[in-house]
């Protein structure tokens, strides 16, 4: 299993733990994630204007480079997945857009490659069944609120990621690690990341975290640096981690939790999932 890996900007900075744990986990699971040469920011937002093709130059270039290397593309960040997958779909279906992008970027690409989220690779290629058997440290007794947010799932006809109103992939993933997924109503609601009004944003994020906490969650798991940023800031006690951090932990690594506020490590130590430190 070899893929070209598109980390996306935040994973080299703010969300370094996301990147580190994904690479560690992939090595444990024999998934070769080879970082794409010379990648650049995906643009973070898929443009709503149909003629704003210039915004698609960067994702087109990433896709075309993966194609030139002969591999499908894998990414971790919900935002990157959203932009890359929708660009890929547009390139495959819209001849005019394809030709304009090709002429501009000067690389031939017509949507031949697939873009995967790491969760999809786990579901499709590794399978959760196998993953369960590879787990070295079962996350027993850990009550986790899976948080999908919006970009992983929407728009459903383009993302085709999971049932948009009742997704299950994160729950299945968590169960494979031995953790207990918590059901709460706001798991597919937006965290407010794209809302410019500060108050509306904190309200949206607070609602998600409050609802998860009320449902008995000890931890929120997401796959998006922007979501984590928002969620972490509205609740002083409920830690928010990336799904790869739990994956690495379950596969016997330390999960890389440095610098996160609220700090999830006391909780994990309390559950004996991390060794006590002096």
């Amino acid at each position: 299993m070899e893929y070209r890996y598109f980390p996306g900007c935040t994973l080299h900075e703010q969300a370094r733990n996301f990147d580190i744990t994904a690479r560690e986990s992939a090595r444990e699971l024999d998934i070769a994630l080879v970082e794409l040469d010379n990648w650049q920011c995906c643009g973070a937002v898929f443009p709503l204007a149909t003629d704003a093709l210039i915004n698609l130059v960067s994702p087109y270039r990433a896709l075309a480079s993966a194609h030139a290397a002969g591999f499908d593309l894998v990414t971790l960040c919900s935002g990157c997945l959203n932009v890359l997958r929708r660009t890929n779909r547009l390139v495959a279906t819209d001849r005019e857009a394809r030709e304009k992008l090709r002429d501009f970027v000067e690389m031939d690409y017509a949507g031949e490659r697939r873009v995967y989220h790491l969760l999809e690779v786990l579901r499709r290629e590794v399978t959760f069944e196998t993953l369960r058997s590879r787990v070295k440290r079962r996350l027993t007794g850990l009550h986790v609120a899976p948080y999908y947010g919006c970009l992983l799932l929407r728009p459903p006809e383009e993302m085709e990621f999971d049932d948009v109103e009742a997704p299950t992939v994160m729950e299945d993933f968590l169960r494979a690690l031995g953790a207990e997924p918590v059901d709460y109503p706001f798991r597919t609601e937006c965290c407010g990341a794209y809302v410019a009004l500060r108050e509306a944003k904190t309200q949206a994020a607070a609602q998600v975290v409050r609802s998860a906490a009320a449902a008995g969650a000890e931890l929120v798991v997401s796959s998006c640096p922007a979501c984590n940023y928002n969620l972490e800031r509205v609740h002083p006690t409920l830690p928010v981690v990336y799904f790869t951090q739990l994956l690495a932990l379950a596969l016997g690594r330390d999960g890389a939790f440095a610098g996160q506020v609220p700090d999830p490590t006391p909780l994990l130590r309390g559950k004996s999932l991390l060794p006590e430190v002096s």
Binding site: D163, V164, E165, A166, D183, P185, F186, E189
Partner: protein
Amino acid sequence: MPRIGVVVCWCGHNIAGTVDVTQVTAAAAAMPGVVYAEDYKYVCSEPGQDLIRRAIADKRLDAVVVAACSPSMHEATFRQAAAAAGLNPYRVEIANVREQCSWVHRDREEATVKAVALVQAMVAKARREEPLEALRLPVTRRALVIGGGIAGMQAAMDIADAGYQVLLVEREPNLGGRMAQLSETFPTLDCASCILTPRTAEVARHPRIELLTYSEVREVAGYVGDFRVRIARKPAYVDWDRCIGCMLCQEKCPRKVPSPFERDMGFKKAIGVNFPQAVPNRPVIDREHCTYFEKGKCQVCVRVCPVEAVDFEQRETVREEAVGAIVVATGFDVLAPAEFGEYGYGRYPDVIDSLAFERLNSSSGPTGGVIRRPSDGRVPREVVFIQCVGSRDPDRGRGYCSKICCMYTAKHAMLYRHKVPDGQAYVFYMDVRAGGKGYEEFVQRTVEQAGALYLRGRVARVYPEGDRMLVRGVDTLSGQTVEVAADLVVLATAAVPRGDARELAQLLKVGTDAHGFYNEAHPKLRPVETMTRGIFLAGAVQAPRDISETVAQASGAASKVLALFSQEELVADPLVAVVDETRCAGCFLCRPVCPYQAISTRVAGNREVATVNPGLCQGCGACAVACRSGAMALKGFTDEQILAEVEALCLRTGSPG
């Protein structure tokens, strides 16, 4: 060469005023094959028709061309006249020199030239004509009605009351269909079973209705007047002839399972009937849930039955029946709201669909007519009704309006208020569609007297908070998002075709729309007929509709059946497609283009060829164009005939071809 006669009509001044009829007659006389040409003032008059009859006899004519008004006016008249003189009526052709010539052109010379060309084309066509015999089909005066709901029962009653035998097939063990599940009906709030139960009893004891419940149609062959139908009777594991309907078995059966009839809110026994007033009042064993079938022991029913009617060895039986007409009244289903994760149906017990709410209202329902919510049996103080769940939602594949939901939701809100006077109903709606006699007034009463709060907007999410459900939506009239804490949420789910509607449609060779509703022959003028002659539609199988419309349509379908049965034999136009088997290559490109599924496969020698069922063919000619080898011919409009017309019409001068 056939001997052709041409008669040119003056139509008084109507034709002769613009067209030089004598010149047309003279030109016709010179056309090859024409042995007789005459003109007359009014050919459609009795002396005019007599002229045709005498010419046929005297000149031994093989075909007649009448240059006159449009064939839609007098083709039938002239064909009858010809037939009276012993000529095959399909050897009469009309050259339309009035509507399409003398009435629309002014220049006499041009009009005359055109009239000659039109006559010439018809002479050319007539020369290449074969005598055709009208198809005569016998009529079996016995109807099959599929579906024993209100639509099927109405159609069956109307046909049987007129004196004909009816076979009424119902899949469930009892009559009543969807309507049996309803509590009250809009806009009068009649109790559904009060109007339904007498009707089911009437149907069951009607001397001319044979009731086949717990049965399904498996095969349909033949055509109008002579359908052959195979009907399977599913095993009830109870000998209904012996059974006296005491229902001791149901009472004593130790096995309780959720009842689909009660939308899984109540229980039924593994043996018994769906509801107490079921007709016929005969029990059925639910094989999947019967302890005996599962484990090989129990047999409580066998022991308690006073007449030894229980029979675990019963098998499916299949019978073949001949009928002349079929009424399809198989009704509708409601969309499984599991598709709508945002409303949490299936996850939260207090989110139910409207049909379940009907059961909660019904005095024979699981709560005895007291509105209690499923989770804890509490009487709900606030109920949110969400309309258009799945309807008018093209993004999820259903752009159509289910039509009945606005009215039954208003009814629910009103009934709820009657039963819970201090309760509050909220209705989220897109538009309120209340077209129908007394309907709008009913909705207004719901708002004004029953105090239902109508909120125009969609619901985004339903989720639990504490022991209530929070409904988040938008009120588009005020532009505000709203949250309602409700004890019960009721989803007005889309009316959809039955799950196996398409399979039955294929058996019947009836077309369906994109969703699986059955297509009528014409949306305005032939709303109860299908494109397959002899098969008629009644009720929601065609599109969502309410009870009053359904009953009206069922009576319409019945009257079509009666019109069919009133004929001695059915006469069908012989202008149908026919296969030249020596030329047919067996590619079957003709089959998918036929709207009537009239083309089937036939083994001729060592290969397969196409064959056309003349009873089904309506003569559109699509197959004749699709045919690559020229094997398919449409009688009366053969390639040869049409090409001859084309050639004649293209001639500028000189002799006709």
